[in-house]
Symmetry: C2
Subunit: 490 residues, 2 copies
């Protein structure tokens, strides 16, 4: 068998130099993969399960934003946890580094190799093992695509408690490993609550079976929680028991225009109080974001005239008439009080989808501006627009737009700065400023995208030495040779 | 200073011999506390913060069910995490064992000493530091009583996302450390989701500050999760950032009578689907439980005649008219379909409270039967009554009653067997049978009360060697001298 030679660094040429500088790392003292290792993998997984063709490897080696580029020469596609266990036991013995990869939709470089780590993809682990039609507890393999699960369980009256832009390609295992948040965390809470059981394979190949058929299970340290959000540095999540909520039968959406941010906070407060049990999303976008959607994808402002801020309120429920009247009463009430000057609402499927487009297509339209500096932060709610406001004078004359939007109901802001192309000067105006400001406000430098490679150097801003040290001890304990997703987080 | 001598084992006399046998342990090789240690503690905490009087120590040394009895000769009452840190650093250096204790309302002996461990009580750490009136994020000391926090935040429109029988005396830190569940988990989810930040002190005195002002925070391994439910074996929880939900303005309750368990499942399914966003509690109790309430505390059956099972459905929401009509429609619908033969509902405060009494006073009335064997399990929902049914023929002629009740919406069953007094013969019919059956069904041997001392020997039924081993490694890593809550869980 002749292996295609794959030079380290060969594909770095396509990558923005800025990004390379931002993720400067030195290769760890891992073994380099040899032909005989590939033979072992082929014997274990079959040739279908071992990818060595450089062209085919291209998609495993870079993230979908084209920000990060590794040079792995082999991707492995196990079909079950027993195969994951065999792979890891072998890699641990041989001191070969491994990067677990799901749908490869991450934005912080957590799921792509940095050097020549072996890619362990969950692509072929996509079985839905069972759904309890009474309780909604689903046991599913890590590689199932989020939207596929949602479609599969719809006929049973359930839905997934997670909705995000990448749902058509992200893997559930990746969602769990990054603790994905998305549009409806305000309704369904975080994965730390809804994942009731989990199977993971540790670095040495040990299969940790923490699957569960029941929601309440207080039997010692809840170790499954360690894997939720740790981006594969402690183990590879292979299967999940997930508590699926009832599928809401009806939803209504309104987009409201606000003249200033105080009014936005009024909308938040009234929605939280008045629509409490129905509220399923509370999103905000500023004028700059909506203008970008209008400029770049041709979708118009649904209100008569531009406002400084727009709030999208979605409610869901089991009774269509109650849902529709609740939202209409809410909008009337909020307009009567002069909180918003204008609003538009819909309760039918098509209208709801059209209104959602104003929010959902922001990221896509922003990408068309040229180069985008993307940030995902949590900030105290009162400070929701402050990062954007502080950044505007700093980037004046350098940036095309500063767009502030995101899951306001959860204090999660997506701050995007666009320009025709990348520039060091612009970059220097943004970082480390935005991270420092976030921490000063008492926020989080990563709300829902994780730390990965991108934010690693800023983590000490967020977490003190004691915290990082304890994290490092846990990492060292569970993966002494540090073969699992090296260079990421810590 | 003359210390009152406190002989190890002195107070064991009051304890049921059966229980002593069930928790056989050998004292670890910890140091014994000396007068000079007490002097150090008094210098640190003041005499108010150090309890050495044997009579006063009585309540620290035994649990409120009177099942467990330790012989600690000192209880420490720090006021803040700095003092907790000093205490633990000193105890770790001196190799003195410590048992953290909250409101001492636990049922598995997790919060009382087994031998002469020092009691570290959170009783004087009861400050509410802040509540964000916009988001409902509250930062609160571990020693605050759950109900006190609920009362403090009511005027701001918030409530605590946890409700349980011991709310008037349990401490929030204890709730977190045991991952308490209670009546409304079905609505608010588990503490793993609602606790957004946490400060804990490790065995060596290190203060781990993971407090947070924001809900979404994905910055590496979410270590705070380790402390939720680990019953103080990894660290002492000292402060919590808790996401409080909006206080529901209205609630309605119905009690429905079912002739058989199939009908109970029908009620569950219809309630989950039809009342989805309103559903705040779904409790079940069998005829035996209600009969016990009638016999022992004189509260009558609210329905015309006895049924095999009763289901209590509570819904909550922001619009009183919607809530009342939703519940009434649900009850009519369920009666029209012949699922239940009789039901009674109320939407006014007094009526709701009266209906709740049928469920809430079960534990109290059961206690009046004499001796009670209490079990807290999770079982797959379809098997909810199976443990009780299997037990009845085994305990016939020995037990007074077998009562099955609990948080059915979460598959959490409270199985209670009563008798005039404790008997070995009866005990042998129940244990280990109930634990073995639970595990066979795919349930959990502890749904919401934890493992503590009581269930320690059954934990290997639930968790395999890999899981226990990984748990032990984490324990060893974080508390090398094992001074924190020894003899508990592992």
């Amino acid at each position: 068998m002749i292996l295609n030679r794959w030079q380290i660094g060969k594909r770095y040429l396509n990558v923005s130099l800025a990004r390379q500088a931002r993720v400067a790392e030195t290769r760890g003292s891992f073994s380099a993969i040899q032909d005989k290792d590939v033979t072992v993998f082929e014997r274990l997984l079959g040739t279908q399960g071992v990818v060595t063709d450089p062209d085919e490897l291209g998609s495993y080696n870079k993230d979908w934003l084209n920000t990060f580029q590794g040079s792995s020469r082999v991707a492995l596609l196990p079909r079950n946890s027993a195969e994951v266990s065999e792979i890891l036991r072998f890699c641990n013995d041989r001191c070969l580094a491994v990067v677990p990869q799901g749908g490869n939709t991450g934005l912080v470089g957590g799921g792509v190799p940095v050097f020549d780590e072996i890619v362990l993809s969950t692509r072929r682990m996509d079985k839905l093992h069972e759904v309890d039609d009474l309780t909604g507890i689903a046991v599913v393999d890590a590689g199932m695509v989020l939207e596929s699960l949602d479609q599969r369980v719809a006929s049973l009256g359930f839905t997934v408690p997670l909705d995000l832009a990448a749902k058509g390609s992200c893997h559930i295992g990746g969602n769990i490993s990054t603790n994905a948040g998305g549009l409806r965390l305000i309704k369904y809470g975080s994965l730390h609550g809804s994942v009731i059981g989990l199977e993971a394979v540790l670095a040495d190949g040990t299969v940790l079976n923490g699957l569960s058929n029941v929601r309440k299970d207080n039997t010692g340290v809840d170790m499954k929680q360690l894997f939720i959000g740790s981006e594969g540095i402690l183990g590879v999540v292979t299967r999940i028991a997930w508590m699926l909520p009832s599928r809401p039968a009806f939803n209504s959406v309104a987009i409201l225009g606000c003249d200033n941010f105080e009014r936005v906070l009024d909308v938040y407060k009234m929605a939280k109080n008045g629509l409490a049990e129905f509220l399923s999303a509370l999103e905000m976008f500023d004028h700059s974001s909506l203008q970008c959607v209008e400029d770049n994808v041709g979708i118009t402002n649904p209100l008569g005239k531009p406002y400084s801020f727009y709030v999208l309120v979605e409610i869901q429920g089991s009774d269509g008439a109650v849902i529709e009247s609740s939202l209409n009463r809410f909008v009337e009430n909020i307009m009567d009080r002069g909180v918003v000057a204008d609003g538009v609402a819909s309760s039918d499927g098509r209208g709801v989808a059209e209104l959602w487009q104003r929010r959902e297509r922001i990221s896509e339209s922003i990408k068309k501006d040229g180069y985008v500096f993307k940030y995902d932060m949590s900030v105290p709610l009162r400070n929701y627009i402050d990062l954007g406001e502080k950044l505007k004078p700093r980037v004046k004359g350098l940036a095309k737009r500063v767009c502030v939007f995101g899951h306001m109901g959860d204090s999660n802001v997506h701050l995007n700065v666009t320009a025709d192309e990348y520039s060091d000067q612009l970059f220097a105006q943004i970082e480390p400023f935005v991270y420092e400001e976030t921490v000063k406000m008492g926020g989080s430098i990563s709300a829902e995208h994780g730390i990965g490679l991108l934010k690693k150097k800023y983590l000490p801003l967020q977490r003190n030495a004691h915290w990082l040290n304890t994290m490092a001890i846990i990492k060292r304990t569970m993966d002494p040779k540090r073969i699992l997703n090296p260079y990421k987080i810590i």
